[in-house]
Symmetry: C2
Subunit: 309 residues, 2 copies
Protein backbone atom coordinates (compact mmCIF):
# COMPACT_ATOMS: atom_id res chain seq x y z
CA UNK A 1 0.00 0.00 0.00
CA UNK A 2 0.92 3.66 -0.32
CA UNK A 3 1.00 5.62 2.95
CA UNK A 4 0.12 9.31 3.20
CA UNK A 5 0.75 11.40 6.30
CA UNK A 6 -1.39 14.44 7.22
CA UNK A 7 -0.34 15.78 10.60
CA UNK A 8 -2.78 18.70 10.34
CA UNK A 9 -5.94 17.06 8.95
CA UNK A 10 -8.94 19.33 8.44
CA UNK A 11 -12.65 19.40 7.89
CA UNK A 12 -12.81 21.44 4.66
CA UNK A 13 -16.06 23.42 4.55
CA UNK A 14 -17.22 25.33 1.47
CA UNK A 15 -19.81 28.12 1.74
CA UNK A 16 -21.52 29.79 -1.19
CA UNK A 17 -22.61 33.41 -0.65
CA UNK A 18 -23.73 36.05 -3.14
CA UNK A 19 -20.71 38.30 -2.46
CA UNK A 20 -18.59 38.51 0.69
CA UNK A 21 -18.75 42.00 2.19
CA UNK A 22 -16.65 42.62 5.34
CA UNK A 23 -18.57 43.76 8.44
CA UNK A 24 -21.97 42.69 7.18
CA UNK A 25 -24.14 39.60 7.62
CA UNK A 26 -24.41 36.83 5.00
CA UNK A 27 -26.88 34.06 4.42
CA UNK A 28 -24.96 30.99 3.20
CA UNK A 29 -26.92 29.48 0.31
CA UNK A 30 -25.02 26.18 0.11
CA UNK A 31 -22.77 24.26 2.50
CA UNK A 32 -20.53 21.30 1.68
CA UNK A 33 -17.88 19.59 3.79
CA UNK A 34 -15.27 16.89 3.27
CA UNK A 35 -12.10 15.51 4.83
CA UNK A 36 -9.15 17.76 4.08
CA UNK A 37 -5.47 18.32 4.58
CA UNK A 38 -3.04 17.61 1.75
CA UNK A 39 -2.28 13.97 2.61
CA UNK A 40 -5.97 13.01 2.69
CA UNK A 41 -6.46 14.65 -0.71
CA UNK A 42 -3.44 12.76 -2.10
CA UNK A 43 -4.84 9.53 -0.65
CA UNK A 44 -8.23 10.04 -2.27
CA UNK A 45 -6.66 10.60 -5.71
CA UNK A 46 -4.36 7.57 -5.30
CA UNK A 47 -7.38 5.43 -4.41
CA UNK A 48 -9.24 6.75 -7.46
CA UNK A 49 -6.22 5.63 -9.54
CA UNK A 50 -6.68 2.10 -8.17
CA UNK A 51 -3.99 2.06 -5.46
CA UNK A 52 -4.43 0.72 -1.94
CA UNK A 53 -3.90 3.66 0.38
CA UNK A 54 -3.54 4.06 4.13
CA UNK A 55 -3.84 7.53 5.61
CA UNK A 56 -2.37 8.53 8.94
CA UNK A 57 -1.80 11.73 10.93
CA UNK A 58 -3.81 13.23 13.79
CA UNK A 59 -7.54 13.60 14.30
CA UNK A 60 -9.64 14.71 17.28
CA UNK A 61 -12.86 16.25 18.57
CA UNK A 62 -16.24 16.51 16.86
CA UNK A 63 -14.67 17.74 13.60
CA UNK A 64 -12.29 14.76 13.71
CA UNK A 65 -15.25 12.38 14.09
CA UNK A 66 -16.86 13.92 11.01
CA UNK A 67 -13.60 13.50 9.06
CA UNK A 68 -13.38 9.81 10.06
CA UNK A 69 -17.08 9.16 9.30
CA UNK A 70 -16.60 10.59 5.81
CA UNK A 71 -13.33 8.70 5.23
CA UNK A 72 -15.10 5.46 6.14
CA UNK A 73 -17.23 5.99 3.03
CA UNK A 74 -14.21 6.48 0.72
CA UNK A 75 -13.45 3.26 -1.20
CA UNK A 76 -9.81 2.14 -1.22
CA UNK A 77 -8.70 4.39 1.67
CA UNK A 78 -7.81 2.78 5.04
CA UNK A 79 -8.04 5.10 8.06
CA UNK A 80 -5.03 4.77 10.38
CA UNK A 81 -5.35 8.25 11.91
CA UNK A 82 -4.08 8.65 15.47
CA UNK A 83 -6.64 10.09 17.93
CA UNK A 84 -5.66 13.26 19.83
CA UNK A 85 -7.32 15.32 22.53
CA UNK A 86 -7.59 18.62 20.60
CA UNK A 87 -10.16 19.10 17.82
CA UNK A 88 -9.26 18.73 14.14
CA UNK A 89 -9.24 22.19 12.55
CA UNK A 90 -11.84 23.50 10.13
CA UNK A 91 -10.99 25.38 6.96
CA UNK A 92 -13.71 27.54 5.44
CA UNK A 93 -13.71 28.50 1.77
CA UNK A 94 -16.26 31.25 1.13
CA UNK A 95 -17.06 31.28 -2.59
CA UNK A 96 -18.76 34.36 -4.09
CA UNK A 97 -21.40 32.97 -6.43
CA UNK A 98 -21.30 36.14 -8.53
CA UNK A 99 -17.55 36.05 -9.36
CA UNK A 100 -16.37 32.58 -8.26
CA UNK A 101 -13.68 34.23 -6.08
CA UNK A 102 -12.78 32.45 -2.85
CA UNK A 103 -11.99 33.81 0.61
CA UNK A 104 -10.21 31.33 2.85
CA UNK A 105 -10.34 31.08 6.68
CA UNK A 106 -8.03 28.47 8.23
CA UNK A 107 -8.17 27.42 11.87
CA UNK A 108 -4.75 26.75 13.45
CA UNK A 109 -5.18 23.06 14.34
CA UNK A 110 -5.06 21.31 17.72
CA UNK A 111 -2.09 21.50 20.08
CA UNK A 112 -0.33 18.12 19.94
CA UNK A 113 1.24 16.84 23.17
CA UNK A 114 4.62 15.11 23.35
CA UNK A 115 2.87 11.81 24.17
CA UNK A 116 0.62 12.15 21.09
CA UNK A 117 3.61 12.90 18.84
CA UNK A 118 5.37 9.83 20.20
CA UNK A 119 2.27 7.64 19.66
CA UNK A 120 2.16 8.88 16.07
CA UNK A 121 5.82 8.02 15.45
CA UNK A 122 5.21 4.44 16.59
CA UNK A 123 2.17 4.08 14.34
CA UNK A 124 4.11 5.61 11.44
CA UNK A 125 7.03 3.20 11.80
CA UNK A 126 4.65 0.26 12.02
CA UNK A 127 2.73 1.33 8.90
CA UNK A 128 5.93 1.96 6.92
CA UNK A 129 6.79 -1.74 7.18
CA UNK A 130 4.02 -2.55 4.71
CA UNK A 131 4.30 0.61 2.58
CA UNK A 132 5.68 0.79 -0.97
CA UNK A 133 6.03 4.60 -0.70
CA UNK A 134 5.06 7.41 1.66
CA UNK A 135 3.98 11.05 1.15
CA UNK A 136 4.48 13.57 3.99
CA UNK A 137 2.09 16.43 3.36
CA UNK A 138 1.14 19.86 4.59
CA UNK A 139 1.59 22.08 7.61
CA UNK A 140 2.45 21.05 11.17
CA UNK A 141 -0.12 21.57 13.94
CA UNK A 142 1.01 23.46 17.07
CA UNK A 143 3.20 21.39 19.40
CA UNK A 144 4.78 19.18 16.72
CA UNK A 145 8.54 19.91 16.54
CA UNK A 146 9.63 21.95 13.52
CA UNK A 147 12.06 19.15 12.62
CA UNK A 148 9.22 16.60 12.50
CA UNK A 149 9.44 15.95 8.76
CA UNK A 150 13.21 15.54 8.92
CA UNK A 151 12.68 12.77 11.51
CA UNK A 152 9.92 11.12 9.45
CA UNK A 153 12.09 11.27 6.30
CA UNK A 154 14.97 9.60 8.17
CA UNK A 155 12.70 6.82 9.49
CA UNK A 156 11.42 6.12 5.96
CA UNK A 157 14.94 6.08 4.53
CA UNK A 158 16.13 3.72 7.29
CA UNK A 159 13.33 1.33 6.29
CA UNK A 160 14.12 1.88 2.57
CA UNK A 161 10.64 3.25 1.80
CA UNK A 162 10.69 5.95 -0.91
CA UNK A 163 9.52 9.23 0.64
CA UNK A 164 7.98 12.35 -0.95
CA UNK A 165 7.82 15.60 1.05
CA UNK A 166 5.30 18.38 0.29
CA UNK A 167 5.40 21.17 2.84
CA UNK A 168 6.71 24.73 3.23
CA UNK A 169 8.81 27.07 5.35
CA UNK A 170 11.14 25.81 8.05
CA UNK A 171 9.64 22.25 8.13
CA UNK A 172 10.53 22.00 4.39
CA UNK A 173 14.02 23.44 4.90
CA UNK A 174 14.79 20.90 7.64
CA UNK A 175 13.02 18.06 5.83
CA UNK A 176 15.03 18.59 2.61
CA UNK A 177 18.27 18.30 4.56
CA UNK A 178 17.20 14.78 5.65
CA UNK A 179 17.45 13.73 1.95
CA UNK A 180 13.91 12.74 0.89
CA UNK A 181 13.52 11.00 -2.48
CA UNK A 182 11.27 13.74 -3.88
CA UNK A 183 10.21 17.22 -2.76
CA UNK A 184 7.36 18.99 -4.59
CA UNK A 185 7.42 22.69 -3.73
CA UNK A 186 5.29 25.23 -5.57
CA UNK A 187 6.90 28.42 -6.91
CA UNK A 188 6.44 30.36 -3.64
CA UNK A 189 7.70 27.52 -1.44
CA UNK A 190 10.69 27.05 -3.72
CA UNK A 191 11.55 30.77 -3.62
CA UNK A 192 11.21 30.79 0.18
CA UNK A 193 13.51 27.76 0.46
CA UNK A 194 16.21 28.94 -1.91
CA UNK A 195 15.91 32.72 -2.04
CA UNK A 196 15.69 32.53 -5.83
CA UNK A 197 12.61 33.46 -7.89
CA UNK A 198 14.12 31.90 -11.02
CA UNK A 199 12.56 28.38 -11.13
CA UNK A 200 15.37 26.56 -12.99
CA UNK A 201 18.05 27.91 -10.70
CA UNK A 202 15.90 27.43 -7.58
CA UNK A 203 15.07 23.81 -8.47
CA UNK A 204 18.77 23.01 -8.90
CA UNK A 205 19.54 24.79 -5.62
CA UNK A 206 16.82 22.81 -3.77
CA UNK A 207 18.39 19.57 -4.97
CA UNK A 208 21.80 20.63 -3.69
CA UNK A 209 20.20 21.07 -0.26
CA UNK A 210 19.58 17.33 -0.05
CA UNK A 211 16.53 16.19 -2.04
CA UNK A 212 17.27 13.39 -4.53
CA UNK A 213 14.69 14.82 -6.91
CA UNK A 214 12.91 18.18 -6.95
CA UNK A 215 9.64 18.63 -8.80
CA UNK A 216 8.50 22.25 -8.77
CA UNK A 217 4.84 22.92 -9.53
CA UNK A 218 4.47 26.13 -11.53
CA UNK A 219 0.67 26.40 -11.65
CA UNK A 220 -0.71 26.53 -15.18
CA UNK A 221 2.86 26.25 -16.54
CA UNK A 222 3.11 22.66 -15.34
CA UNK A 223 6.08 21.01 -13.64
CA UNK A 224 9.84 21.43 -13.66
CA UNK A 225 11.80 18.35 -12.52
CA UNK A 226 15.45 18.04 -11.53
CA UNK A 227 16.27 14.35 -10.86
CA UNK A 228 19.31 12.04 -10.87
CA UNK A 229 17.98 10.58 -14.16
CA UNK A 230 17.56 13.89 -15.92
CA UNK A 231 15.88 17.29 -16.04
CA UNK A 232 12.46 17.82 -17.59
CA UNK A 233 9.73 20.35 -18.07
CA UNK A 234 6.16 19.02 -18.36
CA UNK A 235 3.53 21.37 -19.79
CA UNK A 236 -0.26 20.82 -19.99
CA UNK A 237 -1.77 20.98 -23.50
CA UNK A 238 -4.63 23.19 -22.26
CA UNK A 239 -5.03 25.87 -19.63
CA UNK A 240 -7.83 24.74 -17.28
CA UNK A 241 -10.16 27.30 -15.78
CA UNK A 242 -11.48 26.54 -12.33
CA UNK A 243 -10.46 26.01 -8.73
CA UNK A 244 -6.73 25.34 -8.23
CA UNK A 245 -7.38 23.90 -4.72
CA UNK A 246 -6.02 20.35 -4.59
CA UNK A 247 -4.13 20.59 -7.92
CA UNK A 248 -0.78 20.24 -6.11
CA UNK A 249 -2.09 17.23 -4.16
CA UNK A 250 -3.16 15.57 -7.41
CA UNK A 251 0.35 16.18 -8.79
CA UNK A 252 1.80 14.44 -5.70
CA UNK A 253 -0.56 11.48 -6.26
CA UNK A 254 0.60 11.32 -9.90
CA UNK A 255 4.30 11.35 -8.96
CA UNK A 256 3.90 8.79 -6.18
CA UNK A 257 1.76 6.34 -8.17
CA UNK A 258 4.27 6.63 -11.04
CA UNK A 259 7.13 5.89 -8.64
CA UNK A 260 5.39 2.80 -7.21
CA UNK A 261 4.53 1.59 -10.74
CA UNK A 262 8.21 2.16 -11.71
CA UNK A 263 7.27 4.43 -14.59
CA UNK A 264 10.13 6.42 -16.13
CA UNK A 265 10.27 10.07 -14.99
CA UNK A 266 8.70 11.57 -18.15
CA UNK A 267 5.62 9.33 -17.75
CA UNK A 268 5.34 10.20 -14.04
CA UNK A 269 5.49 13.90 -14.89
CA UNK A 270 2.89 13.55 -17.66
CA UNK A 271 0.56 11.78 -15.24
CA UNK A 272 1.10 14.43 -12.55
CA UNK A 273 0.39 17.29 -14.96
CA UNK A 274 -2.69 15.59 -16.46
CA UNK A 275 -4.13 14.89 -12.98
CA UNK A 276 -3.39 18.40 -11.82
CA UNK A 277 -5.07 20.00 -14.84
CA UNK A 278 -8.08 17.66 -14.53
CA UNK A 279 -8.37 18.72 -10.87
CA UNK A 280 -8.48 22.45 -11.66
CA UNK A 281 -11.19 21.74 -14.26
CA UNK A 282 -13.39 19.59 -11.97
CA UNK A 283 -16.56 21.26 -10.63
CA UNK A 284 -15.89 20.06 -7.03
CA UNK A 285 -12.70 21.40 -5.42
CA UNK A 286 -10.10 18.63 -4.98
CA UNK A 287 -11.82 16.07 -7.22
CA UNK A 288 -10.49 15.34 -10.72
CA UNK A 289 -12.36 14.99 -13.99
CA UNK A 290 -11.45 11.43 -15.01
CA UNK A 291 -12.43 11.73 -18.68
CA UNK A 292 -10.40 14.91 -19.04
CA UNK A 293 -7.46 13.28 -17.19
CA UNK A 294 -7.44 10.32 -19.59
CA UNK A 295 -7.72 12.56 -22.65
CA UNK A 296 -4.85 14.80 -21.44
CA UNK A 297 -2.44 12.01 -20.50
CA UNK A 298 -0.95 11.55 -23.99
CA UNK A 299 -0.99 15.23 -24.79
CA UNK A 300 1.23 16.59 -21.98
CA UNK A 301 4.50 17.88 -23.47
CA UNK A 302 7.56 16.61 -21.60
CA UNK A 303 10.85 18.12 -22.82
CA UNK A 304 14.34 17.43 -21.54
CA UNK A 305 16.14 20.46 -20.15
CA UNK A 306 19.90 20.75 -20.56
CA UNK A 307 21.74 19.43 -17.47
CA UNK A 308 23.49 22.77 -17.08
CA UNK A 309 20.18 24.62 -16.71
CA UNK B 1 -39.62 25.84 35.05
CA UNK B 2 -39.36 28.29 32.20
CA UNK B 3 -39.39 26.79 28.71
CA UNK B 4 -37.51 28.30 25.77
CA UNK B 5 -37.99 27.13 22.18
CA UNK B 6 -35.22 27.39 19.55
CA UNK B 7 -36.37 25.72 16.33
CA UNK B 8 -33.17 26.74 14.52
CA UNK B 9 -30.45 26.03 17.11
CA UNK B 10 -26.88 26.74 16.05
CA UNK B 11 -23.28 26.12 16.88
CA UNK B 12 -22.01 29.71 17.17
CA UNK B 13 -18.36 29.88 16.15
CA UNK B 14 -16.22 33.01 16.62
CA UNK B 15 -13.00 33.51 14.64
CA UNK B 16 -10.44 36.22 15.29
CA UNK B 17 -8.43 37.37 12.27
CA UNK B 18 -6.21 40.43 11.79
CA UNK B 19 -8.48 41.96 9.14
CA UNK B 20 -10.91 40.21 6.79
CA UNK B 21 -9.96 40.82 3.15
CA UNK B 22 -12.24 39.25 0.52
CA UNK B 23 -10.57 36.81 -1.91
CA UNK B 24 -7.48 36.26 0.21
CA UNK B 25 -6.42 33.62 2.73
CA UNK B 26 -6.58 34.15 6.50
CA UNK B 27 -4.99 32.42 9.43
CA UNK B 28 -7.53 32.34 12.29
CA UNK B 29 -5.67 33.26 15.49
CA UNK B 30 -8.40 32.23 17.92
CA UNK B 31 -11.47 29.98 17.70
CA UNK B 32 -14.31 29.73 20.20
CA UNK B 33 -17.64 27.92 19.92
CA UNK B 34 -20.81 27.66 21.98
CA UNK B 35 -24.45 26.63 21.68
CA UNK B 36 -26.45 29.31 19.89
CA UNK B 37 -29.82 30.30 18.62
CA UNK B 38 -31.87 32.89 20.50
CA UNK B 39 -33.78 30.51 22.78
CA UNK B 40 -30.61 28.82 24.01
CA UNK B 41 -29.12 32.24 24.80
CA UNK B 42 -32.29 33.24 26.68
CA UNK B 43 -32.15 29.95 28.60
CA UNK B 44 -28.53 30.48 29.65
CA UNK B 45 -29.31 33.98 31.00
CA UNK B 46 -32.44 32.74 32.83
CA UNK B 47 -30.36 29.98 34.45
CA UNK B 48 -27.72 32.54 35.48
CA UNK B 49 -30.55 34.50 37.14
CA UNK B 50 -31.39 31.39 39.20
CA UNK B 51 -34.38 30.05 37.24
CA UNK B 52 -34.92 26.42 36.29
CA UNK B 53 -34.93 26.30 32.51
CA UNK B 54 -35.76 23.65 29.94
CA UNK B 55 -34.68 24.24 26.33
CA UNK B 56 -36.32 22.57 23.37
CA UNK B 57 -36.24 22.86 19.58
CA UNK B 58 -34.35 20.81 16.99
CA UNK B 59 -30.81 19.48 16.95
CA UNK B 60 -28.98 17.08 14.63
CA UNK B 61 -25.69 15.91 13.12
CA UNK B 62 -22.15 16.38 14.42
CA UNK B 63 -22.75 20.09 15.14
CA UNK B 64 -25.88 19.14 17.08
CA UNK B 65 -23.87 16.69 19.19
CA UNK B 66 -21.41 19.47 20.03
CA UNK B 67 -24.29 21.77 21.02
CA UNK B 68 -25.73 19.07 23.33
CA UNK B 69 -22.32 18.23 24.83
CA UNK B 70 -21.79 21.89 25.70
CA UNK B 71 -25.35 22.32 27.04
CA UNK B 72 -24.77 19.34 29.34
CA UNK B 73 -22.11 21.45 31.07
CA UNK B 74 -24.44 24.44 31.59
CA UNK B 75 -25.78 24.47 35.17
CA UNK B 76 -29.55 24.99 35.51
CA UNK B 77 -30.40 24.22 31.87
CA UNK B 78 -32.25 20.97 31.04
CA UNK B 79 -31.84 19.73 27.44
CA UNK B 80 -35.15 18.63 25.89
CA UNK B 81 -34.05 19.19 22.28
CA UNK B 82 -35.71 16.95 19.69
CA UNK B 83 -33.27 15.00 17.46
CA UNK B 84 -33.55 15.48 13.69
CA UNK B 85 -31.82 13.91 10.71
CA UNK B 86 -30.29 17.13 9.27
CA UNK B 87 -27.29 18.81 10.89
CA UNK B 88 -27.67 21.80 13.23
CA UNK B 89 -26.41 24.91 11.40
CA UNK B 90 -23.19 26.75 12.17
CA UNK B 91 -22.94 30.52 12.41
CA UNK B 92 -19.50 32.06 11.99
CA UNK B 93 -18.64 35.50 13.38
CA UNK B 94 -15.32 36.70 11.96
CA UNK B 95 -13.99 39.44 14.24
CA UNK B 96 -11.24 41.76 12.94
CA UNK B 97 -8.80 42.10 15.82
CA UNK B 98 -7.63 45.49 14.53
CA UNK B 99 -11.06 47.19 14.51
CA UNK B 100 -13.38 44.84 16.43
CA UNK B 101 -15.76 44.79 13.42
CA UNK B 102 -17.63 41.54 12.80
CA UNK B 103 -18.52 39.74 9.57
CA UNK B 104 -21.27 37.17 9.95
CA UNK B 105 -21.82 33.96 7.93
CA UNK B 106 -25.01 32.03 8.74
CA UNK B 107 -25.76 28.52 7.46
CA UNK B 108 -29.42 27.94 6.55
CA UNK B 109 -30.25 25.16 9.04
CA UNK B 110 -31.43 21.59 8.44
CA UNK B 111 -34.55 20.72 6.45
CA UNK B 112 -37.18 19.58 8.96
CA UNK B 113 -39.53 16.79 7.86
CA UNK B 114 -43.27 16.74 8.64
CA UNK B 115 -42.70 13.82 11.04
CA UNK B 116 -40.00 15.77 12.90
CA UNK B 117 -42.22 18.86 13.18
CA UNK B 118 -45.00 16.68 14.56
CA UNK B 119 -42.65 15.00 17.08
CA UNK B 120 -41.60 18.48 18.23
CA UNK B 121 -45.21 19.61 18.73
CA UNK B 122 -45.88 16.61 20.99
CA UNK B 123 -42.75 17.29 23.06
CA UNK B 124 -43.68 20.98 23.27
CA UNK B 125 -47.19 20.30 24.53
CA UNK B 126 -45.85 17.83 27.09
CA UNK B 127 -43.22 20.32 28.36
CA UNK B 128 -45.74 23.17 28.56
CA UNK B 129 -47.68 21.25 31.21
CA UNK B 130 -44.92 21.94 33.73
CA UNK B 131 -43.91 25.41 32.43
CA UNK B 132 -44.60 28.72 34.17
CA UNK B 133 -43.87 30.63 30.93
CA UNK B 134 -42.49 29.99 27.46
CA UNK B 135 -40.33 32.00 25.03
CA UNK B 136 -40.50 31.24 21.28
CA UNK B 137 -37.30 32.55 19.73
CA UNK B 138 -35.60 33.09 16.41
CA UNK B 139 -35.85 32.02 12.80
CA UNK B 140 -37.54 28.91 11.40
CA UNK B 141 -35.41 26.23 9.74
CA UNK B 142 -36.42 25.08 6.23
CA UNK B 143 -39.46 22.80 6.19
CA UNK B 144 -41.17 24.21 9.28
CA UNK B 145 -44.48 25.88 8.25
CA UNK B 146 -44.41 29.68 8.24
CA UNK B 147 -47.39 29.65 10.64
CA UNK B 148 -45.43 27.52 13.16
CA UNK B 149 -45.21 30.21 15.84
CA UNK B 150 -48.92 30.99 15.50
CA UNK B 151 -49.66 27.31 16.26
CA UNK B 152 -47.22 27.24 19.19
CA UNK B 153 -48.71 30.45 20.62
CA UNK B 154 -52.22 28.94 20.42
CA UNK B 155 -51.10 25.74 22.18
CA UNK B 156 -49.54 27.78 25.02
CA UNK B 157 -52.65 29.95 25.36
CA UNK B 158 -54.90 26.87 25.45
CA UNK B 159 -52.80 25.55 28.35
CA UNK B 160 -52.80 29.02 30.00
CA UNK B 161 -48.98 29.33 29.86
CA UNK B 162 -47.80 32.93 29.29
CA UNK B 163 -45.99 33.10 25.95
CA UNK B 164 -43.37 35.56 24.63
CA UNK B 165 -42.58 35.65 20.90
CA UNK B 166 -39.27 36.97 19.52
CA UNK B 167 -38.96 36.46 15.78
CA UNK B 168 -39.20 38.44 12.54
CA UNK B 169 -40.83 38.63 9.12
CA UNK B 170 -43.83 36.51 8.19
CA UNK B 171 -43.48 34.12 11.19
CA UNK B 172 -43.79 37.22 13.45
CA UNK B 173 -46.74 38.60 11.48
CA UNK B 174 -48.64 35.32 11.79
CA UNK B 175 -47.52 34.73 15.36
CA UNK B 176 -48.73 38.16 16.54
CA UNK B 177 -52.20 37.42 15.14
CA UNK B 178 -52.40 34.37 17.46
CA UNK B 179 -52.35 36.80 20.45
CA UNK B 180 -49.11 36.08 22.38
CA UNK B 181 -48.73 37.71 25.80
CA UNK B 182 -45.60 39.60 24.77
CA UNK B 183 -43.74 40.24 21.53
CA UNK B 184 -40.26 41.77 21.61
CA UNK B 185 -39.35 43.09 18.16
CA UNK B 186 -36.30 45.27 17.55
CA UNK B 187 -36.67 48.49 15.57
CA UNK B 188 -36.18 46.80 12.17
CA UNK B 189 -38.55 43.93 12.92
CA UNK B 190 -41.15 46.38 14.20
CA UNK B 191 -40.87 48.53 11.07
CA UNK B 192 -41.16 45.43 8.86
CA UNK B 193 -44.26 44.31 10.76
CA UNK B 194 -46.08 47.62 10.85
CA UNK B 195 -44.67 49.63 7.96
CA UNK B 196 -43.91 52.47 10.38
CA UNK B 197 -40.40 53.66 11.31
CA UNK B 198 -41.78 55.76 14.17
CA UNK B 199 -41.32 53.50 17.25
CA UNK B 200 -44.20 54.86 19.39
CA UNK B 201 -46.70 54.56 16.57
CA UNK B 202 -45.32 51.20 15.42
CA UNK B 203 -45.45 49.73 18.94
CA UNK B 204 -49.10 50.77 19.28
CA UNK B 205 -49.83 49.35 15.82
CA UNK B 206 -48.15 46.00 16.69
CA UNK B 207 -50.38 45.70 19.75
CA UNK B 208 -53.48 46.29 17.65
CA UNK B 209 -52.39 43.31 15.50
CA UNK B 210 -52.96 40.97 18.46
CA UNK B 211 -50.10 41.02 21.00
CA UNK B 212 -51.23 41.73 24.57
CA UNK B 213 -47.99 43.61 25.24
CA UNK B 214 -45.34 44.89 22.84
CA UNK B 215 -41.82 45.62 24.06
CA UNK B 216 -39.70 47.17 21.33
CA UNK B 217 -35.92 47.04 21.79
CA UNK B 218 -34.32 50.21 20.47
CA UNK B 219 -30.65 49.30 20.89
CA UNK B 220 -28.72 51.76 23.07
CA UNK B 221 -31.94 53.77 23.57
CA UNK B 222 -33.43 50.98 25.69
CA UNK B 223 -36.98 49.63 25.54
CA UNK B 224 -40.40 51.00 24.67
CA UNK B 225 -43.33 49.06 26.16
CA UNK B 226 -47.01 49.20 25.27
CA UNK B 227 -48.98 46.96 27.69
CA UNK B 228 -52.53 46.62 29.10
CA UNK B 229 -51.18 48.06 32.38
CA UNK B 230 -49.53 51.10 30.86
CA UNK B 231 -46.93 52.51 28.48
CA UNK B 232 -43.30 52.99 29.48
CA UNK B 233 -39.90 53.89 28.14
CA UNK B 234 -36.88 52.35 29.90
CA UNK B 235 -33.48 53.93 29.27
CA UNK B 236 -30.05 52.67 30.37
CA UNK B 237 -28.01 55.07 32.55
CA UNK B 238 -24.87 54.42 30.49
CA UNK B 239 -24.12 53.63 26.87
CA UNK B 240 -22.20 50.33 26.80
CA UNK B 241 -19.49 49.80 24.21
CA UNK B 242 -19.01 46.27 22.98
CA UNK B 243 -20.71 43.46 21.13
CA UNK B 244 -24.50 43.83 20.82
CA UNK B 245 -24.87 40.08 19.99
CA UNK B 246 -27.22 38.50 22.52
CA UNK B 247 -28.41 41.82 24.00
CA UNK B 248 -31.95 41.21 22.72
CA UNK B 249 -31.92 37.67 24.15
CA UNK B 250 -30.87 39.04 27.55
CA UNK B 251 -33.78 41.50 27.36
CA UNK B 252 -36.16 38.57 26.70
CA UNK B 253 -34.72 36.74 29.73
CA UNK B 254 -35.27 39.86 31.83
CA UNK B 255 -38.89 40.24 30.71
CA UNK B 256 -39.72 36.56 31.16
CA UNK B 257 -38.10 36.20 34.60
CA UNK B 258 -39.92 39.37 35.69
CA UNK B 259 -43.23 37.95 34.44
CA UNK B 260 -42.72 34.64 36.32
CA UNK B 261 -41.71 36.53 39.47
CA UNK B 262 -44.85 38.68 39.06
CA UNK B 263 -42.84 41.91 39.09
CA UNK B 264 -44.70 45.05 38.00
CA UNK B 265 -43.93 46.13 34.42
CA UNK B 266 -41.53 48.96 35.31
CA UNK B 267 -39.33 46.53 37.32
CA UNK B 268 -39.41 43.97 34.47
CA UNK B 269 -38.32 46.65 32.02
CA UNK B 270 -35.53 47.88 34.32
CA UNK B 271 -34.23 44.32 34.62
CA UNK B 272 -34.40 43.77 30.87
CA UNK B 273 -32.51 47.00 30.13
CA UNK B 274 -29.86 46.36 32.82
CA UNK B 275 -29.28 42.79 31.53
CA UNK B 276 -29.13 43.96 27.96
CA UNK B 277 -26.59 46.70 28.71
CA UNK B 278 -24.49 44.31 30.84
CA UNK B 279 -24.49 41.88 27.88
CA UNK B 280 -23.17 44.46 25.40
CA UNK B 281 -20.40 45.34 27.90
CA UNK B 282 -19.32 41.72 28.57
CA UNK B 283 -16.06 40.60 26.93
CA UNK B 284 -17.63 37.32 25.66
CA UNK B 285 -20.50 37.72 23.18
CA UNK B 286 -23.83 36.67 24.72
CA UNK B 287 -22.61 36.56 28.32
CA UNK B 288 -23.51 39.34 30.77
CA UNK B 289 -21.32 41.17 33.25
CA UNK B 290 -23.04 40.35 36.54
CA UNK B 291 -21.45 43.12 38.63
CA UNK B 292 -22.38 45.71 36.01
CA UNK B 293 -25.91 44.26 35.78
CA UNK B 294 -26.42 44.59 39.53
CA UNK B 295 -25.03 48.11 39.60
CA UNK B 296 -27.26 49.21 36.69
CA UNK B 297 -30.50 47.71 37.99
CA UNK B 298 -31.50 50.68 40.20
CA UNK B 299 -30.24 53.26 37.73
CA UNK B 300 -32.38 52.42 34.69
CA UNK B 301 -34.83 55.27 34.06
CA UNK B 302 -38.40 54.03 33.51
CA UNK B 303 -40.83 56.78 32.55
CA UNK B 304 -44.53 56.45 31.83
CA UNK B 305 -45.57 57.49 28.34
CA UNK B 306 -48.96 59.07 27.80
CA UNK B 307 -51.55 56.47 26.69
CA UNK B 308 -52.30 58.48 23.58
CA UNK B 309 -48.70 58.33 22.41
Amino acid sequence: MILTVTLNTALDITYRVRALRPHSSHRVSEVSERPGGKGLNVGRVLAALGHEVTVTGFTGGATGRTVRDQLAGTAGVVDALVPVEGPTRRTIAVVDTTTGDTTQLNEPGPAITAAEWSAFQETYEHLLRSASAVALCGSLPPGVPVGAYAQLVRTARTLAVPVLLDTSGEPLRRGVAARPDIVKPNADELAELTGSHEPLQATRNARRRGAHAVVASLGADGLLAHTPEGHWRATPPVRAHGNPAGAGDSAVAGLLSGLVEKLPWPARLARAVALSTATVAAPTAGEFDRTLYESLLDRVTVTAESAAA
